[in-house]
């Protein structure tokens, strides 16, 4: 009987996936474009909708909150992120400034300069979480030597998100469980991602042009919903299948220049195995299902090997390798990782390799 439910759930996962693939919108560049930095998810190749077993369930799949039974206050979750080109370009640009001319700008050609920082304090209670977050992103990438133009990132987002989850299972000893969750958010945002900005506009307009591009802060409201099926196969193994839709219907802001957040329907499947000395978790997600990008760009696969005090992560984000580690020292948790995300529409068309360091201070309450 239990096997039948599991088979039904897995079949349902693939059925829903095939349905979601039947539609498509205009082809457009799409990165992961997450609301906040999520170290474990990033290091696990962006997978986590099916797994959803940590605090980031609030942002990925609120159904995962139904399995949350901790009481914890994260006072600070401070993350900083940059691309490798950012550091390398800084050193070459400084030397180029000694003899500056317009052609010096060619040293920046094709360089992916990107910085991101966020802060995510969060209160976790059984089946409930609420978080304030602030996220700052800046970047510049110069393309086309024959007629230079810029892809610019200038975006500040902050807001409050709260979510809750509840579960249903047939009797206390049932091995399978259905979880449901919802989350609501209020956001303030200024700016966004800007593609193909002509160099002449920037050189002539300078800061006033950039200010007009970015505009003022706008307010937006959004909602997420998710479902998760958990099947406890035996004492050590567990299968999880999840589906979520974040930012249902998209989130538009009161300032028309603030970048709209697209709805993101996702499905995922995960396997957890607990042995005496470590836990293993494997997850596979298909995300941004309604975006008309290549199938590869929707795939996210990751693994988490959890030891006492140490977690090791690896994954494939849109088939780009990701890896990282996290150390737990009582109330302090330090995560360091590298991931790459695709900004084009095809596999490895315009990948961006990034490095992230995050420090969390959490206290049990």
């Amino acid at each position: 009987m239990r096997e039948q439910s599991l088979v039904r759930a897995i079949s349902g996962f693939f059925f829903v996936t095939s349905l979601l693939f039947s539609g498509g919108l205009a082809r457009a560049s799409q990165g992961m474009a997450t609301l906040i930095q999520m170290p474990r998810v990033f290091a696990m190749g962006g997978a986590g909708v099916g797994l959803a077993d940590d605090e980031y369930a609030l942002f990925l799949n609120p159904a995962g909150l139904a399995g949350q039974d901790v009481r914890k206050l994260r006072i600070l979750g401070l993350g900083a992120e940059a691309t490798m080109d950012t550091y390398q370009t800084l050193s070459t640009s400084l030397s180029g400034l000694k003899d500056f001319s317009a052609a010096t700008l060619n040293t920046l050609m094709g360089k992916d300069i990107y910085l991101r920082s966020s802060i995510v304090p969060m209160l976790q209670l059984p089946k409930f979480a609420v978080s304030y977050f602030g996220d700052l992103q800046g970047g510049i990438e110069q393309l086309n030597q024959a007629n230079p133009n810029f892809n610019l990132t200038n975006m500040v987002t902050h807001g409050v998100q709260a979510g809750t989850g509840w579960s249903y299972k047939k009797g206390r000893r049932a091995k399978d469980e259905w979880r449901f969750g919802i989350a609501g958010k209020m956001l303030w945002r200024r700016g966004g991602y800007y593609e193909n900005v002509p160099f002449i506009d920037i050189t002539n307009g300078g800061q006033s042009y950039l200010a007009s591009l970015v505009g003022e802060y706008g307010t937006g409201f959004g909602a997420d919903a998710g479902v998760q099926y958990v099947n406890q196969m035996n004492r050590k193994e567990e299968i999880r299948i999840g589906a979520s839709v974040t930012d249902i219907g998209g989130v538009a802001f009161s300032s028309p220049k603030a970048l709209r957040i697209k709805m993101n329907p996702s499905v995922g499947i995960a396997y957890r195995n607990q042995s005496d000395f470590m836990k293993m978790k494997f997850a596979f997600d298909l995300r941004n299902l309604d975006q008309d990008v290549s199938f590869v760009n929707k795939t996210h696969f990751g693994a988490d090997f959890s030891f006492p005090l140490l977690n090791l992560y690896a994954g494939l984000n849109q088939l780009n390798t990701t890896f990282g580690a996290a150390f737990d020292l009582w109330i302090l948790r330090v995560s360091a990782l590298s991931y790459a995300e695709e900004r084009g529409v095809e596999y490895r068309q315009r990948p961006s390799r990034r490095y992230l360091l995050q420090i969390d201070f959490s206290i049990p309450i």
């Binding site: 560049s29 317009a102 007629n147 002449i200 095809e346």
Partner: protein, 285 residues
């Protein structure tokens, strides 16, 4: 494919960019973005790196602007730089502003996927600005290729297309291409200056462009006519006689039409006007 083209242009892989953009440009999927990418790919093929061109432009010495063009945009027969510049001009002239209505006399290549206009006012600001740079490239390539520049970038040999017959006999299209490039250079600057694209650098460039306008375009129609005597537009019709209103009107049409590099084969007065301008180029350089 657009991202692939942009990537190729960023890394300087001109052949790849040109191959991909040409396929889109010559299809029903073409639009102004594709036209600009195609023009950029051709510019890449012509050896243009815009920042370097801007550096060169700011160091121009105005008395010998034509020599400077030849220096910055060298070309030899077979290197395809000049040909790339012509095709880029065609693409840029087809970047029409939203809502433009093109008169029959102003149309360029109307039977293609990328019909254009001879009027800069019909085109987008970005095409006029980029057209300014591409025109410089075509002028420099032509002068370098056919004017045998001296080591100090003076004229080494006269351009040969100084009569209607020689212009019309020019099967390479270089004569008419040169004349149309001068017109598009001037148009591109005037439109871009009006939109503020040149900023503070505009005054220096304006001196150069005004000089070319006065000495070549207006000269092509008037000065070369009276001083040179033989090859300017209305003298072709009535040697030694004051031009009639009809002749003046036909010359005005020729002047407007010569923005299109294929115009010299359309009417005789177009070719005569072009020959007059090329005579002035020989005098000026």
């Amino acid at each position: 494919m657009i991202i692939d083209i942009e990537n190729a242009l960023t890394s300087g892989n001109c052949s790849s960019a040109l191959g991909n953009s040409k396929r889109l440009y010559q299809s029903r999927y073409t639009d102004n973005r594709i036209r600009m990418l195609y023009a950029n790919s051709l510019a890449c093929k012509a050896g243009i790196r815009l920042y370097e061109v801007i550096d060169e432009l700011t160091s121009f010495s105005s008395p010998n602007a034509l020599g400077q063009f030849a220096r910055v945009f060298p070309s030899a027969v077979g290197d395809q730089r000049l040909e790339s510049g012509w095709l880029a001009q065609d693409a840029l002239q087809s970047m029409l502003a939203s809502g433009s209505v093109i008169g029959v006399h102003d149309q360029i290549l109307p039977e293609t996927w990328n019909p254009g206009s001879t009027l800069a006012t019909d085109r987008t600001d970005s095409s006029n600005l980029y057209g300014f740079f591409m025109s410089m490239s075509v002028i420099g390539n032509t002068l370098s290729r056919y004017g045998a520049p001296t080591p100090v970038w003076g004229k080494g040999a006269d351009l040969i297309w100084t009569s209607r017959a020689l212009v019309q006999a020019d099967l390479t299209g270089s004569a008419c291409g040169l004349v149309s490039a001068f017109f598009n250079l001037i148009d591109g600057f005037r439109r871009s200056e009006a939109s503020g694209a040149f900023g503070s650098a505009g005054s220096g460039v304006k001196v150069m462009v005004d000089g070319l306008d006065a000495q070549l375009v207006q000269g092509g129609a008037l000065a070369c006519l009276t001083s040179g005597g033989t090859y300017a537009c209305h003298q072709y019709y009535s040697p030694g006689v004051a031009p009639s209103a009809t002749t003046i009107a036909r010359c005005a049409l020729a002047k407007a039409r010569l923005r299109y590099r294929g115009a010299c084969s359309e009417t005789e007065e177009n070719a005569v006007f072009a020959a007059g301008m090329i005579s002035c180029v020989n005098n000026l350089w």
